[in-house]
Subunit: 136 residues, 4 copies
């Protein structure tokens, strides 16, 4: 039994999120794509409106890069791998970075890394940091 299409959910979430930790392991073990070393921003949009996200990537030694534009449909989740961001440019592997995520509707963002550089994988996750300020 699926939820009927007409159901709406009370709003929840924020429009601005930050993940200060970012580092894509340069190597992997195991079958892809599941065991490919990666970093992900898992986004939930429970609203009735499509969410338009803009990622900005910050580095330690050069100007920020972005926006990377991502769409999350209404009532959907998207687990976005930083590995796959390509436009305006890929994120280099083995490099410290951080990310700012801005959305036009409230969403919720969780950060996860799978590190399979060694034969056994390691996992870590945290809720991203939510800002309450409005988008400039």
């Amino acid at each position: 039994m699926k939820t009927p299409k007409t159901k709406s959910f009370a709003p929840i979430g924020h429009k601005r999120w930050v993940i200060p930790e970012g580092w894509i392991p340069p190597t992997s073990h195991g079958p892809e794509p599941a065991m490919l070393s990666h970093e992900a921003a898992c986004v939930l949009n429970i609203s009735d409106r499509e969410a338009h996200l803009e990622f900005t990537i910050f580095y330690s030694d050069r100007e920020p890069v972005g926006p990377y534009k991502i769409t999350v449909p209404a009532h959907r989740t998207r687990h976005i791998r930083f590995n796959n961001l390509a436009d305006p440019e890929p994120i280099p592997r083995g490099t410290d970075y951080a990310s700012l995520i801005e959305s036009d509707v409230p969403v919720i963002v969780q950060h996860t890394r799978l590190d399979s550089r060694q034969s056994e994988n390691a996992l870590m996750t945290t809720m991203a940091f939510a800002g309450i300020e409005s988008i400039a």
Copy 2:
């Protein structure tokens, strides 16, 4: 509804929680149930009233599914494995999802994954995201 025997606790928690990251590893190593790959929502209800929870599961490519109904007695914790949710339908393994958890009394929710796809297990945890909006 249980009535506590001797002591009540000051209220703490929220009625709405979100876990954007969800993915049940499709395989496992080691003795079950402890080493079975799983995702859990650990819930604490410190109130004097039974908590009635409704889980809604969101996917990347289809309408949300729910509600999954779970009861957490007064003064009790329940570590709910997403693997075991069955009604209205099981959550498919190896599939991106996210969850919205709504309760009629304030609770606290923490997300944990044990991944035992490989011979050594990996763990991750985070507090879920709490919403302050009332239930629609």
Copy 3:
């Protein structure tokens, strides 16, 4: 060069914290105490006053147990292993539990588990959930 004893820090933290996830792995690999499977509540008290903490442990199938009394001196951290809580009774291994931590001065609490059931250890951590309500 140590900070002089007279220095005070602006207050930070909360008086009530919750960790919904609790499960002490029943077995371990590797040299103790560093590699002993454990769960810890890491507490920082930056205030000028000794903090008196009371832990209450919640279970899935019986009444809560407590208080477990712990003292954290002024300007000190204590990484408290749930494994070592003994009075009024030890926490059974391999059992789901949750914890409520109440302090008479504001502190900050972080939850960490080291699981060394297998030959390679797994780690997880999260900030505990902070309540803003006053102690009953």
Copy 4:
């Protein structure tokens, strides 16, 4: 103080952060520096002004040590390894500690540990705890 070339970002973050968990694994496996056991505070400064950070390290059995002074340029991230803090003194390995991080501009702080004491590494991360009080 750098001046951004083309774009400013709306402010986000806090000036005071706490990480109650701290413990630098005393040993490592694998090639350095990537696989060196370490603890890191990942900091993002999205403001247009250079951020001046002061770390204070708290111990279980002696007075706090600090300040350790760190600069994060405007529009940059820095992933600061506690292992590398040297002035006023290094943090001893295998020792419980906690940290207070104070900044003159709002930043966001995430805590990560890589533990490579065994042949397979373990990871954990969490957003640090943000205080809303002003700096004393």
